[in-house]
C-alpha cells in the first residue's frame, strides 16, 4: 500500500516536472533550472558529506572546474558541443578530486573541512591569475544559447540519473561501506573496508555532480569568472540544502534544494535586508531540532500516522535529548 502511494507520488512529481516548461514563462524557468542545479550539487555533496560523513567545504572548486572546462572546450580551437564538453569537465573534476583527496582525506573532522576550504580558495586564485588559459579576473565567454528549456531538461535529466545512482549505491557494498566509515572509521577498516578507496570514490563522485552543475550554469550564464564560480556561497548552499532535506538519504538533497530555494525567494521578497539573519536562524533551527532534515521529520510523522509514536514535542525534541550535554 505504502509502496503504491510512493510510486504514484513519484510518477506525479516526475510528470509535473516534465510538463513544467509548458506552463511557466521562459524567464521563470531559469529559476527552476537553478533549483535543479542546486539539487544536483547537493546530491553530490551527499556522498561525501552525508553518507561518508566528511564535512567537505570546498566542493565549489569542482563546480568551478566544470564551468571553466565546459567553457574552454566549447570555445577556442576545439569547438566541442555542450555534452562532450561538460562530460570532459566532469572527468577532469573526478581526476582532480582523486589527486586532492588522496592526501586531504587522511585528515579528519575540522581539519578536513578547513583544508578543503583552503583548496577551493586556492583554485579561485589560480583561476584569477592564470591569464593565458582563464583570462584572469575578466573570465571567459561562452557561445550564446537562448533556449531555456534545453538547460531545464538537461538539469532534470542529470538529477534523475543522480537519484538512480544514489538509490543503487545506497544499497550496494560501497554505500554500506561509506556509512560504516561515517559511523566508525577504525571499525570499518577492521572489517576489511579499504577506507582510502571508498572515501576517494565518494569525493570524486561528489566532484562529478558539482562539475555537471557548473557546466550547465556556465552555459546558461554565458560568462565564467573566478569570483562568480568559485564563491563559497555555492558550497554553503549545497550543505544547507542537504541539511534541510536530510543528509544520507536519496531524496533529502532534492527536497532540501527545493525548500531552500522557496524559503530564500520568500525571504528575499519579504525581508530583503534581513535575508542572512533569517537564513542563519533557519540553519540554527535545523541543526538543533532536525539535524537529519525534513526526511527525518517525515519519518517520525509517518510513525505517528501508523500509531507507533505519540504526537508531541518529542518529534522536535528527540534530537536535543540525544545530543545535549547532560
Amino acid at each position: 500500500m505504502a509502496k503504491a502511494i510512493r510510486l504514484i507520488l513519484l510518477v506525479a512529481v516526475l510528470a509535473a516536472l516534465l510538463l513544467l516548461p509548458r506552463f511557466v514563462s521562459s524567464y521563470k524557468l531559469l529559476t527552476y533550472t537553478t533549483v535543479l542545479c542546486l539539487a544536483l550539487m547537493a546530491q553530490g555533496w551527499n556522498f561525501i558529506g552525508g553518507y561518508t560523513g566528511y564535512a567537505a567545504f570546498g566542493n565549489v572548486a569542482f563546480f568551478g572546474i566544470g564551468a571553466y572546462t565546459t567553457g574552454l572546450l566549447m570555445l577556442s580551437k576545439w569547438h566541442l558541443s555542450f555534452f562532450p564538453a561538460v562530460f570532459a569537465g566532469a572527468l577532469l573534476s573526478a581526476f582532480v578530486a582523486t589527486l586532492i583527496g588522496l592526501p586531504v582525506l587522511r585528515l579528519k573532522g575540522h581539519y578536513f573541512a578547513i583544508a578543503t576550504l583552503g583548496v577551493a580558495e586556492a583554485f579561485r586564485e589560480i583561476a584569477g591569475s592564470w591569464d593565458s588559459v582563464t583570462e584572469g579576473a575578466t573570465g571567459i565567454d561562452l557561445p550564446v544559447r537562448s533556449d531555456n528549456t534545453f538547460f531545464y531538461y538537461t538539469a532534470l535529466g542529470f538529477v534523475v540519473v543522480g537519484v538512480f545512482v544514489t538509490f543503487l549505491l545506497e544499497r550496494s557494498k560501497i554505500g554500506y561501506g561509506w556509512v560504516a566509515i561515517r559511523e566508525d572509521q577504525d571499525a570499518a577498516r577492521m572489517l576489511g573496508i579499504n577506507t582510502t578507496i571508498f572515501k576517494v570514490a565518494a569525493f570524486a563522485l561528489s566532484a562529478i555532480f558539482a562539475s555537471l552543475a557548473g557546466g550547465i550554469i556556465a552555459y546558461q550564464n554565458i560568462h565564467v569568472a573566478p569570483n562568480d564560480f568559485f564563491k563559497i556561497e555555492y558550497t554553503l548552499q549545497m550543505i544547507i540544502a542537504c541539511i534541510i532535506g536530510g543528509t544520507g538519504t536519496v531524496w533529502g538533497p532534492l527536497l532540501g534544494a527545493a525548500v531552500y530555494q522557496l524559503l530564500s525567494t520568500y525571504i528575499w521578497s519579504h525581508f530583503l535586508e534581513l535575508h542572512p539573519t533569517v537564513l542563519g536562524a533557519i540553519i540554527i533551527f535545523f541543526i538543533v531540532f532536525l539535524p537529519r532534515g525534513l526526511m527525518q521529520l517525515f519519518g517520525r510523522l509517518g510513525l505517528v500516522a501508523r500509531g507507533r509514536r505519540r504526537v508531541g514535542w518529542d518529534i522536535l525534541l528527540a534530537n536535543v535529548r540525544a545530543s545535549r550535554l547532560e
Binding site: P103, I114, G118, L274, P276, L325
Partner: protein
C-alpha cells in the same frame, strides 16, 4: 632588502602578533576544551569593535577604557549562547557545532549590518597616528599599546587557567569530561564559562582592532581564519602554543604581505594544508586526530 626594511618587518610582525595572539587565544580555548571550531568568533570581534566605536562616538570614552566593557558584554552573550544553544547539540557529530556557529556568525553579522550600516568606521583619538622612532624603525603608540594589552590578557588567562580553582576545572573538563563530572564539576556551566571567556577575549581583540584598522561589519571573517591557522601552527594545548603560533604566523603574513601581496591568502593556506598533511600535530603541540 636593507637592514632598516628588515627591522621594520620584524617590528611590524611583533606588533601584529600581539593582537593576533589575543584573537587566537579565545578561539584556541574553545576549541581545545570543547572541540568546537567556533566560526562565530569573528562576529564577537566585530561586536567588540562596534561597542568601542559607539562608546567613543557617543560619550567620548577612551577606547582603551572601553575594553573591559566590551569584555563584560561579550562574556554575557557568550555564556547565553553556549548555555542555551551549543550545549544542546554538543554530543552530535562535528558538523553540527560547525554549522551552528556558522549560522550564528551570519545572523550576528547581518544584524550588525542592518542596525549600523555597512559604512567603514574607525576610532580616531588624539594620539592616533603618533609614534616614536627607534633608529630607522617606526613604532606607532596605539599598536604598542595594543601589544601590551594583549600580553597582559594572555598572562592573566594563563594564570587563571593554571592557578585558580575554576581554571583548573575548565582544564579538567577539557581533559576528561566524565572524570571532571565525577569530581563534582558542573560541566554545563563550565562549558558556558569557557565559551564566555572565549567571546570576551574576542571582544577585547575587537576593541583593539577598532583603533588599529578601519572596519565594517565584515571585519571578523578573516580573523576567524587567521585564528584557525594560528591554532594549527601552534597546536592546541596551552597559552604558550598560541603565542608560538601567532608569532610564526605574523612573520609569515608580514613577510608575504610585503613581497607577494596578491597571493598572501594562497600562500598562507598552502602552508597550512602542507603542514596539516606533513605534521598534523602543529609545530609545537600535542597530536590531534
Amino acid at each position: 632588502m636593507t637592514g632598516a626594511e628588515l627591522g621594520q618587518i620584524a617590528v611590524n610582525a611583533l606588533l601584529l602578533s600581539g593582537i593576533l595572539a589575543l584573537v587566537a587565544l579565545g578561539f584556541s580555548l574553545v576549541w581545545g576544551i570543547m572541540n568546537i571550531v567556533n566560526l562565530s568568533h569573528g562576529a564577537f570581534i566585530v561586536l567588540g569593535a562596534y561597542l568601542t566605536f559607539w562608546m567613543h562616538a557617543l560619550w567620548k570614552i577612551d577606547p582603551f577604557v572601553s575594553i573591559p566593557v566590551s569584555m563584560i558584554v561579550l562574556f554575557g552573550l557568550g555564556y547565553l549562547i553556549q548555555r542555551s544553544l551549543i550545549n544542546q547539540v554538543i554530543r552530535a557529530p562535528l558538523l553540527a557545532t560547525f554549522l551552528l556557529t556558522f549560522g550564528l556568525e551570519i545572523l550576528i553579522v547581518n544584524l550588525i549590518n542592518y542596525f549600523f550600516k555597512a559604512d567603514t568606521r574607525s576610532v580616531q583619538t588624539a594620539y592616533s597616528g603618533t609614534g616614536f622612532a627607534l633608529g630607522p624603525v617606526r613604532v606607532p603608540y596605539i599598536r604598542l599599546g595594543a601589544l601590551l594589552v594583549s600580553v597582559l590578557l594572555v598572562l592573566v588567562l594563563g594564570a587563571f587557567l593554571n592557578r585558580s580553582r575554576l581554571g583548573r576545572a575548565i582544564r579538567a573538563t577539557g581533559m576528561d569530561i566524565d572524570a571532571a563530572r565525577l569530581s563534582g564539576v558542573k560541566v554545563a556551566a563550565i562549558y558556558a564559562l569557557t565559551y564566555a571567556i572565549g567571546a570576551s577575549l574576542a571582544g577585547a581583540a575587537g576593541s583593539l582592532l577598532s583603533m588599529v584598522v578601519p572596519f565594517d561589519p565584515n571585519l571578523g571573517g578573516p580573523y576567524t581564519e587567521r585564528a584557525f591557522v594560528i591554532c594549527v601552527l601552534g597546536g592546541l594545548g596551552n597559552v604558550v602554543n598560541v603565542l608560538i603560533g601567532a608569532a610564526v604566523y605574523s612573520v609569515v603574513e608580514v613577510f608575504v604581505g610585503s613581497r607577494l601581496p596578491a597571493l598572501s591568502q594562497a600562500v598562507t593556506f598552502g602552508i597550512l594544508v602542507l603542514l596539516l598533511i606533513v605534521r598534523p600535530q602543529g609545530i609545537a603541540g600535542k597530536s590531534f586526530s
